[in-house]
Symmetry: C2
Subunit: 453 residues, 2 copies
């Protein structure tokens, strides 16, 4: 009953498909109704577009609103397209304003205007539409409760009782002055525990963790994790309360940003790509990075080709040049991962970067010596030529030091010019470790050529 | 005031350090007291061990409890070591039981027994100690509010008023039967909105999203994100309520698990590693993976060495073998990243794996053709030999198909034997793409050797 294994919704999904094939729409609706909202949304999104289009109009307005709220943003936009503008307006009126705004942003301008004109609560959604998706303004909901400072706890609780349990930000109430400037926050728990005649002013906390509408969503997520608050109020430049971002929104942001870092380090530039993405989307999102990597690989080939005559004389060198480049790439990838994540979690200060750089240099040197000695000894035992082993070992030590320095420096440099440190870091860094690795190994081999014959 | 830029605490940190150098402990304490708890913990952890040890005993018990709660687990354990067992027991009594349990787990068995014996609330902490750190049991707190079904809303609110705003799980109350089995959940918001004489039974939701003590923490995080609940109650095998996991704990889990995936794909096996980790820790955690990679690199070298005589005759081949291996590695890394993340987010069903595998094959084939034609043409234009270009192109196509298949298959296979798909995936997969890349290119070159001269 509580497991998340998607297999759990499969039996119901099969019943729904069978009912749809037999044209028994009512039965399909009943099966869907038995699922929890989140599971219902998943089952719905697994149906074909035409099945979705024939079922959605049969949903009562509140159920359709729940469904669109739970669906992934793209799926919700597709589903919204199948509804008439009037019906869609009714459904959006029932949704949390931030989710409604997300759907309206994805409509064509004409359709959006038509739908907004038919909505009753358009004034709740309208202010949200001007903010970029990834800002606090784009993430916030306008569905929050604001109180004046002289309101008593009893009055506030009466007010909550009248408005019913509809608000999506139910656990914090915000105190505002006559200009709606944010002046404090009251936890619902504190409100309940307060004497009935205590005023908001006496129970509110004045030091409110807050964001402005333009604050980046990652920053909002960090505020929430750092200060352990379940909601962050959003104000404009004058300090006027505009909305609230809740932990639900931030959970999604954290997951998405982490995926983005991992993808970008792996040369995948679109965090929405999944293993279920259609082939033409996968190709379009991945091919450009492969072509960039091809260019850098050909540059590394050019470096090797400078040593063609050395390789022609000692062909076995070609077998070990890749060890030097590969070990450098591996070591650099380790440093990159740690640096990119440390930057993402706000743990690195640019002006204190010398410490990390020195530590990476030391780590590279030490790991390089161990790996270099192991590789050199191995090669000596295999091929019987001590000079081959010494050259391989030295080249590895050198390349691992380069890997540590470049792997730490490049993301910091990208960050300092306000680029995403995860983006392009791995292409740049592995180009360095490849080219320097090949040049070090084959250069040393050229110098010691008489000893290798 | 609201920015997270760590630079913001620096001026205070410098004042604290100056005060400590001058032996003015009281002044240092006053500066620390001006910071928010989370910022205070960060400033405290930036001090030297001896400064920490001289300041911590001066913290009043509740302030010390706040500090240990906010500190990272390792820092909290170190700080706890500097306190006497009696004082530590007093501090732990004031902490949320789950955070207290985390610290006790890190003490030596003797010290832990001594501290537990001195604690007043040992019975709240004791049941938590038996659960592994990464399970719902290890994450949960015992500090929650349970109600019986016939309690009225007014009685429940009176109870909350008496206990004060201390509970760390303030926004959900849980209904239990006489055996303390979980039977429902009441949101605080619903409780406040209910008529005063309504019983818990009439306002509670019976379908409670729950975990058992042994549920993995990632699964708890998924339950919370999927069903948008701010807390998940934890029951034992008999359905008896044992504790509650809150969104604060899960925010940390999500961030940590995402870091773990990214690190493991980058051959870093310890998610606690940061750019500030000391060199000996970095070396110990990263060197083993480099040595494993060295073994696989030497295996790839052995593959190349099988073609030594081919390379001796056409040395320029050595410059392009790495392009084939490298492009395969890049393409495989893309597939790995998407597959590992899809598995982590619960989007892949093992028995439906044929779809993703086929799509990766198609993506690999298509990307391979484009990259192969580009690389082959480039090489033909550069070196003037069409056969060299054809061989490079064909080898790239073949290796990118292998990359797609192996990159998708290996994490699925690891998952199916219950290993972490992120762990070891990249070593295994790049070993394949290296060896097959070299063998394909040099094998084709050997076949077409007469045309390359």
């Amino acid at each position: 009953m509580t497991s998340l294994d998607p297999a759990q919704i499969d039996p119901t999904l099969e019943k729904i498909r069978a009912a749809l094939e037999g044209g028994r729409l009512e039965e399909a609706m009943q099966e869907l109704a038995r699922l929890r909202p989140a599971d219902r949304a998943e089952a719905f999104s697994d149906l074909t577009d035409s099945d979705q289009a024939s079922l959605l109009p049969r949903f009562p307005i509140p159920a359709a609103a729940d469904l669109l709220t739970e669906l992934e943003e793209d799926d919700a936009a597709d589903a919204a397209e199948t509804l008439s503008s009037d019906r869609l307006a009714d459904v959006l009126d029932e949704m949390p304003p931030d989710d409604a705004a997300d759907i309206i942003r994805d409509l064509s301008p004409d359709r959006a205007a038509e739908v907004l004109a038919s909505m009753e609560d358009a004034e709740e959604v309208f202010p949200l539409l001007g903010h970029p998706d990834e800002s606090a303004g784009g993430l916030m909901t306008t569905d929050y409760i604001a109180l004046r400072r002289h309101t008593t706890a009893a009055q506030a609780i009466d007010f909550l009782r009248q408005t019913g349990p509809a608000s999506t930000t139910p656990y914090y109430l915000y105190a505002v002055d006559r200009d709606r400037k944010l002046i404090g926050v009251v936890g619902l728990r504190d409100l309940v525990a307060a004497p009935p005649d205590a005023t908001v002013e006496t129970i509110m906390k004045r030091d409110v963790i807050r964001a402005t509408t333009s604050t980046d969503q990652e920053e909002v997520a960090r505020l929430m994790t750092r200060y352990n608050v379940g909601a962050v109020p959003v104000v404009d430049d004058q300090g006027v309360l505009k909305g609230v971002v809740t932990y639900e929104d931030v959970l999604d942001v954290l997951v998405k940003e982490a995926t983005e870092d991992l993808y970008r380090l792996s040369n995948v530039s679109d965090a929405d790509l999944t293993i279920h993405s259609p082939v033409h989307i996968s190709v379009r999102r991945r091919l450009p990075w492969l072509l960039i990597n091809l260019l850098t690989a050909l540059f590394a080939s050019w470096v090797i080709s400078r040593f063609e005559s050395t390789i022609a004389r000692v062909a076995i060198l070609a077998a070990f040049q890749s060890v030097v480049a590969g070990m450098g790439g591996n070591a650099a990838t380790q440093t990159l991962a740690i640096m990119v994540r440390s930057i993402a979690l706000g743990n690195v200060r640019l002006r204190d970067a010398s410490g990390p750089l020195l530590r990476e240099l030391a780590t590279g040197l030490f790991n390089g010596i161990v790996v270099g000695v192991a590789a050199g000894l191995g090669l000596y035992l295999w091929k019987g030529n001590p000079w081959l082993g010494i050259i391989l070992g030295l080249a590895i030590v050198g390349n691992l030091v380069v890997a540590g320095l470049v792997g730490a420096f490049v993301p910091l440099a990208l960050k300092s010019v306000r680029l995403d440190p995860a983006l392009a870091s791995s292409v740049i860094v592995t180009t360095f470790t490849d080219c320097i690795g090949f040049a070090l190994f084959l250069g040393l081999a050229t110098v010691f050529l008489p000893r290798l014959g």
